[in-house]
Amino acid sequence: MVFPTNSLIIPFIAFVGVIIVGVEAQFDDVRCKCVCPQDPANNLTRNIYIKNVIPEQCSCAHIVKREEKFCLLCECKYEIRNTTTIKVMVIFVVCLIGVLFAYMMIMMCLDYILSHRSTPHTQRLDDEGEMTPIARRRGGYFQRMESATQRWKRQVQEQKKNVFDRHAMLS
């Protein structure tokens, strides 16, 4: 709860920001796209024309450069996109998946180690999880974080039991 969502996301966003500044935009964000029918009689198979022009020039006459009659069948559209948004979001998503994957791996390793160690350690962790909120407040930030994580883990266990073991929900 407290741990990954609050303390991880801020440095994470900073990290994403650094990556984004480092990459330069190579792709245009505007285009004028004209779609015309093919004309096999004149041996013309090309039917999409794309150019980066100012909006006023986005017409069939400017882009396709053919007679007016042919242009009646063409449709020109001026389109804008934002590659920076796409870049930011894709990198954000990839990093998020990476972090979650790493966290999952760490959790799995820890669980493995703990289950192969002697039991008192796990017992202690469980007790800590049972502490009342007041007692928890007296401890430092890390202790609170620890117990929040424990509480969260218990909830995940509970959800797992409902969904995967008892099949009481979501089947």
Partner: protein
């Protein structure tokens, strides 16, 4: 709303409510103490945590000064346990008191005025925030999913974050780019990256291998993330949200982790090529946003009934961003998910859907200025004779819906009860592998379902030169008239027909096995894809029939040779609506969603015809839609307001205790000791105890919630040292002023007693009782005869009774 208010006014214990005003400050104080004791809500407790320690100190200060042991301990926690039903009436009543308090204090200071103003607009503010949240999530998910989907086919080496369409966006040689694998010079397939160029077997195998490997990898990642972090993130979410909105608590279902994991794994699952959509899960994501933001406003965060108003609005925003259909979203919330939907919520849903659509439009995830990938724009008219094929499509949709619901529920039941359910991860991975291996050879299943729908909805112009649009156009005529006339189909179209038929069968079957696996899985998109395939097939058939039989009477008048006549894309759209209507049994909202997708009002009638027919045909085979089917399968306590109660039983048939059961555990108004009450709460597991005047008369005087009683007793033990095990507990006002010497001091607990429980006589028909539970949102109802308490009926008793009358296993209703 009116009904609830009405009932308040007629409630016999109205007098009790009026006195609450004078108690506000102690209630505030004690309410917070209640929070210390109870289990913490997992969702966003950090926000409320902070004042707990302070309030505890305050309380200590104030109690130590007390000499009088008769201090009341009013505790109204307003929090429910996991898997419990909420009491709508009590919650709304509580909110009214809170509102009154703020209203009355308004003139005391400018700060209070500000507080009142904040309270007044917080309803709009919270739905604004929810809309922003839902729109942002949808934007990220759309961009991420379309990028990851294309990752299966290749990459854009110069800018890895662009999908194929965006990679070739500004490229001039983008002939036939959109719907095939080649792409442009900037886009590289996996084979090309390994320097295997050209159209040979080697490149095909490499591409095939990567396609399957990516599908496998993404599905594995999705299912392991769901398993490790948030098991509640799997599935579509709509059945559960319907249940939650009907007044049920599922803790953690709308929490932060569910939101995060569902958003991430939704992208992964869609990109893995599994036959599922992200539209249903988006509703769940929006509701998570609704829940999280409502914790910023105690008015909503601490009141479950009020929170459900925000969630109704959030589900509207979810559909709004999923389909780019704000009005359709509001109607979806009204028709399909919401239970309690007053006008105020309608407007807020409208606003929320608007904000969400606006935010998504600003993000512009597809670079097309449209909110969905398969937005289409038609302007061809439709003709009267086409209603016949539209009807046929409706019949197909209904049949497919019935087939899908039946088979899917059977499969889910099998998964629930057999060994298969023990291997959720293996199941997902196997299914992903099978789907990927079968999908790749057929170009129509190789592309994502959204792309397939876009392609099928597309109106074939002469400019399109992919196989589905391979018509023998007469270009001279076209240049002459400026119109795209109907033309005979070329070989590419005939080839496409076969492929589309195969795609239809494959998608139709594999979705039965996919819906219900343990990754986020919606079924809007797969159902629409199935319907769109069928519609397109019929559309092409009609188009050719009209072209070749132009001299027939009905065709002759309407279809001129030089004008476009039958538009197969429209048929695909009608088919999609019909299939979706057959599966979900939605009507009004579905039609509105579909016409918002097309932006053409003239297609409403075809859509209405198809959707209505689909519903009729589907209902003939089974009345419940897929979401209701899953609700019953999982045994959620959902009292459907659409079903009618047709049996003639009476309240005494349903109430507990039954004849053979031990008598009801009741509390007497006075005379019980603290110890007796404590034993009662530990020994029995009932959630509420009726209170009687005395054991002999059994005359009803009220109802006490177990949770309140436990907390009140624990608090009394903790803070009032005079209270011992033998102290008498008084729930009435007849408390002796001074305790007799030698006797322990009494404890007064009037405040936890609900003096206005709902009661019916034992002869009340169950029809009336069911209506009361449905319309008023009751949690429990007491049964009396001549004022004597006979028994108690809970919402789950009603559901069990109903299931029994329908010859179902009453124990299938879970969460007792």
């Amino acid at each position: 709303m009116e009904q609830i208010e009405l009932n308040h006014c007629t409630s016999p214990a109205m007098a009790n409510n009026t006195s609450v005003d004078e108690l506000d400050s102690p209630i505030d104080r004690y309410e917070r103490i209640g929070h210390i004791q109870e289990e913490e809500d997992d969702d966003l407790i950090d926000i409320t945590d902070d004042d707990n320690s302070k309030s505890e100190i305050n309380f200590r200060d104030s109690t130590q000064g007390l000499v009088e042991p008769l201090e009341d301990i009013p505790i109204d926690t307003g929090k429910y346990d996991d898997f419990h039903t909420i009491d709508w009436l009590k919650d709304i009543q509580k909110d009214r008191q809170r509102h009154k308090r703020i209203h009355r204090d308004r003139d005391k200071s400018p700060l209070n005025k500000l507080k009142a103003a904040h309270d007044a607009w917080s309803g709009w503010l919270v739905v604004f925030l929810v809309g922003v949240g839902a729109g942002t999530c949808a934007g990220i998910i759309d961009i991420g999913a379309s990028w990851m989907t294309d990752l299966k086919l290749g990459v854009c080496p110069q800018a890895f974050y662009l999908n194929r369409e965006q990679c070739c966006w500004a490229e001039n040689d983008t002939d036939q780019l959109k719907f095939n694998d080649k792409g442009c010079s900037k886009w590289h397939t996996w084979a090309e990256l390994f320097n295997i160029l050209g159209d040979n077997a080697g490149s095909y195998i490499i591409n095939y291998l990567f396609y399957v490997l990516w599908g496998f990898g993404l599905a594995t990642l999705a299912v392991s993330l769901v398993r490790a972090f948030a098991p509640y993130a799997c599935g579509s979410g709509i059945p559960e949200i319907k249940t939650i909105l009907s007044g049920f608590i599922i803790r953690g279902y709308l929490g932060k982790w569910t939101l995060l994991i569902k958003s991430i794994t939704m992208m992964l699952a869609v990109s893995a090529g599994l036959s599922l959509g992200k539209e249903g899960p988006l509703v769940h994501v929006a509701c998570c946003c609704g829940n999280i933001f409502s914790y910023l406003f105690p008015k909503y965060g601490k009141n479950e009934a009020k929170k459900r108003e925000v969630l109704s609005a959030a589900s509207a925003a979810g559909v709004s961003v999923a389909f780019g259909a704000p009005v359709g979203g509001v109607l979806f919330s009204l028709e399909e998910v919401s239970y309690y939907f007053p006008m105020k919520t309608l407007w807020r849903s409208f606003f929320c859907a608007l904000v969400a659509a606006f935010v998504l439009r600003t993000i512009n995830p597809f670079g097309t200025d449209h909110l969905v990938m398969f937005y289409v724009e038609y302007d061809t008219p439709w003709f009267f004779f086409e209603l016949v094929p539209f009807l046929l499509l409706g019949v197909f949709g209904g049949l497919y819906g019935a087939f899908f619901i039946k088979m899917n529920l059977k499969w889910c039941k099998y998964r629930k009860t057999s060994k298969l359910g023990k291997f959720p991860v293996v199941e997902v991975i196997t299914l992903a592998l099978i789907t990927a291996i079968i999908s790749y050879p057929n170009p129509y299943t190789r592309m994502s379902s959204s792309q397939l729908i876009e392609l099928l909805f597309n109106d074939c112009g002469p400019e399109d030169n992919f196989k589905l649009c391979n018509y023998k156009h007469n270009y001279t005529l076209m240049l002459h008239t400026g119109n795209v006339a109907a033309s005979p189909a070329g070989p590419g179209v005939y080839e496409s027909l076969w492929l589309l038929l195969l795609a239809l069968i494959f998608k139709g079957v594999i979705t039965v096995f996919t819906f219900g696996i343990k990754v986020p899985a919606g079924l809007f998109i797969p159902s629409m894809a199935v319907g769109a395939c069928a519609g397109r097939l019929l559309g092409i058939g009609m188009e050719q029939a009209v072209y070749f039989n132009n001299d027939w009477g009905i065709f002759e008048d309407l279809c001129k040779p030089s004008t476009p006549c039958v538009n197969p894309g429209l048929y695909a759209m009608v088919g999609a609506a019909a299939a979706l209507g057959g599966v979900t049994r939605m009507t009004v909202s579905l039609v509105v969603i579909m016409f918002e997708l097309t932006g053409g009002l003239q297609y409403i009638v075809p859509l209405m015809v198809a959707v209505m027919t689909a519903k009729w045909v589907g209902d003939a085979f089974g009345r419940e839609g897929i979401y209701d089917g899953h609700i019953y399968l999982n045994g959620y306590p959902y009292l459907d307001s659409k079903r009618e109660f047709v049996h003639s039983t009476i309240a005494s048939d349903v109430m507990r205790p039954r004849r053979a059961d031990p008598p009801l555990s009741v509390i007497t108004q006075e005379g019980m000791t603290v110890e007796e009450l404590e034993n009662l709460t530990t020994e029995s597991s009932y959630n509420a105890y009726p209170m009687v005047v005395s054991k002999e008369s059994q005359r009803l005087s009220g109802l006490v919630q177990r949770k309140d009683l436990t907390i009140a007793l624990a608090n009394a033990r903790k803070f009032q040292e005079e209270v011992v095990s033998q102290s008498q507990v008084f729930f009435s006002n007849h408390v002796p002023r001074y305790s007799l010497p030698g006797q322990p001091s009494p404890l007064k607990l009037t405040k936890i007693l609900d003096q206005s429980p709902f009661q019916v006589t034992d002869q009340t028909p169950m029809e009336t009782v069911v209506e009361m539970f449905r319309k008023l949102g009751l949690r429990t109802c007491l049964v009396t005869h001549n004022g004597r308490l006979l028994g108690i009926i809970t919402k789950k008793d009603v559901l069990r009774h109903w299931a029994m009358l329908k010859n179902q296993d009453p124990d299938s209703i879970m969460f007792h």
